[in-house]
Symmetry: D2
Subunit: 483 residues, 4 copies
């Protein structure tokens, strides 16, 4: 099979969040918002709703449209305020125990929390908490946040929350729900996105603007790095409780994670991807007959490339969008046939042509290899690959599921070696400065980079305490294999 449904040769954003305050059918609106954020996590989702008296929690594996859209599920989530979360697993192992939001009945009342990102000192903090007698029912870093709130010495709930979050390193764009408050917080560097929206007076906090669009809500503004907003019946309060730092938004959100119709940090994602394609065309032009995107993520950059280079843009690869939940482990005989479950060459376009293939990134390289082979089999005269990001050389510790560094093709090969490995006539990546230019910067500021680009540069903007303290960070998730 060329790719499993959740193929292991792409990067996966871990999460999307959505919260709404003071609106009938809150859980149904969260469901729709999470559906629009499905690209940020397809493995499982959860919603917590508060009905004025009780909190209701539902968590289900699978796609939103298969689970939370059932009447029976929504009926178990009454209330005017709700938060939800959709998830691709990074921190924590399998099982519904690790599906967010997390909820606890604290001494001061119930509180639910969900976040997008990853806490890089979660294990360290967890060990401390265990030593003082705290019990963990999951291996998720989100539960750690609840414990820190529960054990905070502060008196007011707001201060407990600030106290707890101040203990954290890493990336977190968080939504929380208590009986009276909807809370939103971005970490001081603002690595992951979080926006404020409004549906006829009801405030919304969510990861991307496309989740506002689906229900016709208005975009108000982005929550700022280090900002905490507290929504109550009295309005929206804004605080900046953390030490001020220069922001470092994840540049890969522009390259791949965010949906093209979203605006993030004030910029349209589709436009930036077209800019990247145009920069690529300027940086590494090649004579060819047509520009072919690797669908769907390569399409905007390919359009930009084609427009800049005045070459025709053509669908030389057709993607089959019907992908089932459980794809077979075929017999050896079939596996070696090189079955093409997801992509097929549009041979009539490819045959005898020199093509520029545009893709968003190269991870392990195995998919690129297959796609190039498919073009060769379809009779391409030349295949030139252009990548809409710099070489991915490092793992992400801020909420993206990357293979170990050693498995990243760019971490162990030069561009020339990679070109040979994937068997293309030429291979070029956009330069790091080209990428920054596509984002309307003059160039990358080496001393104070404007974005988090650690996966390209190795320049991690936070401490990585757990990584330095534990032999195998990933094993945490294996200890409590709850069913």
């Amino acid at each position: 099979m060329d790719e499993t449904p959740f193929g292991d040769d792409t990067l996966h954003e871990e999460c999307g969040v959505f919260g709404i305050y003071g609106r009938t059918d809150a859980a149904a609106l969260v469901t729709l918002g999470l559906h629009a954020l499905q690209h940020r996590g397809q493995e499982a989702a959860g919603i917590v709703a508060y009905d004025g008296t009780q909190f209701h929690v539902e968590r289900h594996p699978g796609l939103i449209g298969d689970t939370f859209t059932k009447q029976s599920v929504l009926e178990r989530l009454p209330g005017d305020s709700a938060i939800g979360h959709t998830r691709y697993a990074t921190t924590g192992g399998g099982g519904l125990r690790n599906v967010q939001p997390f909820f606890a009945e604290l001494a001061a009342g119930g509180f639910a929390v969900a976040h997008n990102g990853n806490i890089t000192n979660a294990m360290t903090v967890q060990r401390e908490l265990q030593r003082r007698g705290s019990i963990f029912s999951s291996t998720s870093d989100t539960e750690t946040i609840l414990h820190l709130i529960a054990t905070s010495g502060a008196r007011l709930f707001k201060d407990k929350l600030i106290d707890a979050l101040s203990r954290l390193e890493g990336a977190f764009s968080l939504v929380g729900l208590s009986a009276k408050k909807l809370v939103g917080v971005r970490d001081p560097l603002g690595i992951r996105p979080l926006v404020l929206g409004d549906l006829e007076g009801s405030p919304i906090l969510t990861s991307e603007t496309c989740a506002l669009d689906i229900i016709g809500a208005d975009y108000v503004r982005d929550i700022e790095p280090g900002e905490m907003v507290i929504v109550t019946a009295d309005g929206i309060e804004s605080l900046f409780p953390f030490q001020k730092r220069k922001s470092r938004f994840c540049i890969f959100e522009y390259v791949y994670f965010a949906r093209p119709d979203s605006n993030v940090e004030g910029r349209n994602v589709y436009t930036i991807r077209k800019n990247i394609g145009a920069e690529l065309a300027r940086e590494s032009h090649v004579e060819a007959d047509l520009v072919v995107p690797v669908p769907d993520s390569g399409v905007p950059a390919a359009i930009g490339y084609a427009q800049q280079s005045n070459m025709p843009f053509e669908l030389g690869i057709i993607r089959n969008h019907y992908v089932g939940r459980t794809f077979i482990q075929p017999s050896d005989a079939i596996r070696h046939m090189g079955v093409k479950l997801k992509h097929n060459a549009n041979r009539a376009m490819i045959e005898g042509k020199r093509i520029v293939l545009v893709d968003d990134s190269i991870v392990r390289g195995t998919t690129s290899q297959k796609i190039v082979q498919m073009m060769r089999d379809a009779g391409a005269a030349e295949v030139h690959m252009r990548i809409a990001s710099p070489p991915t050389t490092g793992a992400c510790f801020y909420g993206v599921d990357t293979p170990e560094t050693g498995k990243l093709l760019a971490s162990r090969m030069s561009i020339q070696q990679m070109a040979e490995f994937i068997k293309v006539d030429s291979l070029a990546f956009i330069s790091i400065d080209g990428l920054y230019r596509a984002c309307d910067e003059d160039a990358r500021d080496k001393h104070q980079p404007q974005y988090c680009d650690a996966c390209f540069t190795g320049d991690y903007p936070t401490a990585l305490t757990d990584l330095d303290s534990f032999e195998n960070v990933r094993q945490l998730s294996l200890l409590g294999g709850f069913g």
Copy 2:
């Protein structure tokens, strides 16, 4: 419908436990043991197994034979030691979050625990723990035990466990599993049963001897009230860490809960039930043509009654053992027909006869009413009801699901009124002393009763702290309605 599958007119034991140490296929053996204990709880079950490296947890709603017997489930439970639990809900609301065993990764390592009984100060302790910053992921009293262990100041694990259990009031027959130990504890009064068995050298701790029989294990002895046994690779250690008290085993285990083929506290249950029937015949003889049990629980007492009174024992009521999982809410038209899903009169036996109907107890009285009516419809000349327990006048707080006191028929009617309510020609219950005689005692010792008989006498042998402290003890289970 005369009775739903889990009818609301019987008492339900909450739990059965089973643990085994040092035997290949431990989880499969626990599964078989729990199958034999299915009468102690049909709603859900859980097993935790330890494979030398990791703990594995599975929890499933439904019958053992529908869930844990699947190969796929057992394969996820490798290991040589395991504990399991089968459950009918009393403490805690629905949802798998409340299914035992509970497991936590404590600072000192993983620990799993399951118990039969009910902690009567669990909410009080939980509130204290919440105030110090502990987070609860369930509403089960079992999680409270884990928290008390986690927050104990003692150094050794054994002492932490003693420390934790010393804080508890109520009834608990507990099994626990750590990486190196299988632990069994009975509360100081020994209200619920717990026996030690042996399968070719592998120690077993379980609720009833029938769970030993199913796998051909030998019965070694009953764990004593207040005893803690610790099974390790080095053998079995026995401790008595609590203040010594006179035991108060639940006498209703003999009347109804335990399986007739089990021996509990050294006595055969079937034999005691026959004794009860014989005592009843002596205490309240009546001239009749035959003795008819309400199946299945009334059978042994009816045999005893028939043998003592020299009347023929006949199956005048046939029980349909095929009861589905989800029985319809029929239309009003059908509901009023008095459909007999579970029991049917064997008219050929009943017609024109004077019958003695023997049942184990009367709870709300609605089932008795229907059964008597069924006998009348089948042409019974006279119906005399004999009950194998004294009138049930009080709720149980030690692990049995009883209706509120006000709904117990005997709490608001005299025996004569009850006879009229259920429309029998005569009604008699065994006397409390008769019941003690059937258990080989001379009589009930009023000053130091030999058994817990609180549901008949109101004489509760422990403090009921939660009941005295909270307005509505049952509401705890409703707060965190986790899915």
Copy 3:
């Protein structure tokens, strides 16, 4: 495992039928009736309802209480007339295609049919029909009946039906439903039961009276062998369209298949079983301490034996009624332990005692072997086995699932050899004349036996055309393995 849920060491009745005419909620009443007939078939069930305009068909694998009791299923079965069928597979392989009732839109209108029994020339007729161009969508003999109706040259529907049924050999107690009629027919020998009932004016046709009792319907009379009844809005018409023959009701219905609270052919089943026990006691008395039934089927005969012999009746074996749907294929290690899923010795009763074990029949002998061993392990001093039927030496071809003749223990061993095989101190079967006496006959009439007793005597009352014509009759069911 001592027995799988549908163990292979018992005989299985294939079917129960239930039809009702002119009553709101017809399908719900059929569901309840089939629930009472669940002992006649647990594998699958089907209901066809007619709502005045359309026929609705539902077929589901599994128990009635798990499928047809769902509101969603019943809502798909509106109408005032309905027939249903519950099934254990004999003719035809797996798959819902073979689940009755069968329905076809004939030229004259829709017709649904279900029957209890087995057509012994179904394959022969099917081959003929295929040669003339008929297509079979199942391997069930019931579909053959529909084809014979469809291809009959008769003009009136009633005559087509008579025409079709006249072609059949074997046993059939049939219910049929057209837009205007509910039809019931018993084959000329009346091998399987069929009774007429009445629910406040609505006629009912069903296999046993217990299916009338569950909904409080009145028993009217047994349909006679060779009788056809046609229920319409105008009343009930009775015909005898077949050549008159002396009836041969299946005597095994009394021994094992029918429910003890049913009256069949005018006699109470429980009473006959007690008679059998009493005859057994007279025929093969033995000195012992107690009489122990193999539950549940051996109970009435054991009561009869105990009363006749003045020995105490005791539950020496306890049956676990919780049997799951999917029981494990355990590891070899566990399989060799002799796990007791279904039965357990009540050791306190057995130890040191001489016991008379009463069971209904011996099929392969493997279950008897295990039960006896269980008694020995529990310390029985002597085990005397008494069987409530003569030795089963021949297969049934009239709707009972029997192993091949060669696998029947009695077909290849003398009683003495069987006693040694199952390791009892003595073994006795009731004599064939004793069995007839228990049924209120003086003795078996050798020339014109009053019952079908072919499984004991080899005296088959009908031709067995398929058996004589095809090499392997059972293979029919394997050809069209529909899913």
Copy 4:
């Protein structure tokens, strides 16, 4: 909701077929082929495999990737030859009974058949067959074919098949499987596609070349209209048993149904769609800022339009490909919000721009209305709609699910009225001759049209016997509502 998962405002192709002969893992290969044909039917699928001894049938509702890809399902389909079918319902109601392939054990042996298309005299033939005594277990026209074979007077199987097919009117591209043969037939007009492929010597018959590509099979040739091919171990035989007629391939296959990477009737679908876009630009040019496709079906025509008119092609609408199985019936409050489950405007591209929107067709017009409103809400200055097919004015009776004629927008409005209805600044459809030009014809031959274009012209190339004979053709599917 703007569109349900199987929205009612698109046309649906009914079927795709795939058969392979003489290759290990035949069913797995059929599964992959059907996955590539999923766009031709998403409701259910079936596969019949022959293992040299028996036929095996599996039918499942839902997507291939959710059902047939399970190991357990494939294991039940052993064999070296298999045929499969994927289906969107047109003829016949719900229920697995109508899922193809159909299989029957005929007098001459087993035969399975599946087809793409629709038989326009199926009901008429069915009534005739019922009168002679044939029984139908489904309401599918495919079963009619089996009956015609079964009742044919011809001697050889091949002649029976020809005899049967000669009785049919309408469109059918059929695959059949007997113990020794794989058969493929196209109706004399060749309305639906069927191609011959080859996988390392194993012949394949399937609807589109994309189903060959997925498993790396070679395309050999299109089966010709009126051709029957018979694949046996001895090779491939070709026959033309029907009266020769001029072909009339469905032109809508080019416009919408076929996958763009398929070649049908020797032409590349993507290229023809681009041609259509270019013709549209020539026929109805308009000054604008960008060309925006309605994804995904409008993309190739939009690329053609943009290239021809030298306007930029931009993704102004983003499609969410995650659509669940069961989407909610939301509350009224939410429904009126105009939720956008499937499409979202890419506002940054649209705002202030004059756009040309390109879509494949207009059915009811409701989707167009919503898409245009979405563009307006996103700030489009002007919206000009261009449609890649002529106005759809008539229903299809050849295997496409069209609404009743009266519900087709173009059947009751002029183009100007339609423009007002969907609120565009201008609206143009490609002319019928323009469409033929895009297919490399000079123009439509009015006397002998080269294609079936009945949905645009009302010129139906076959008799419509059922339509003329029955009051409500659609009711057939309602009669036998099998479960």
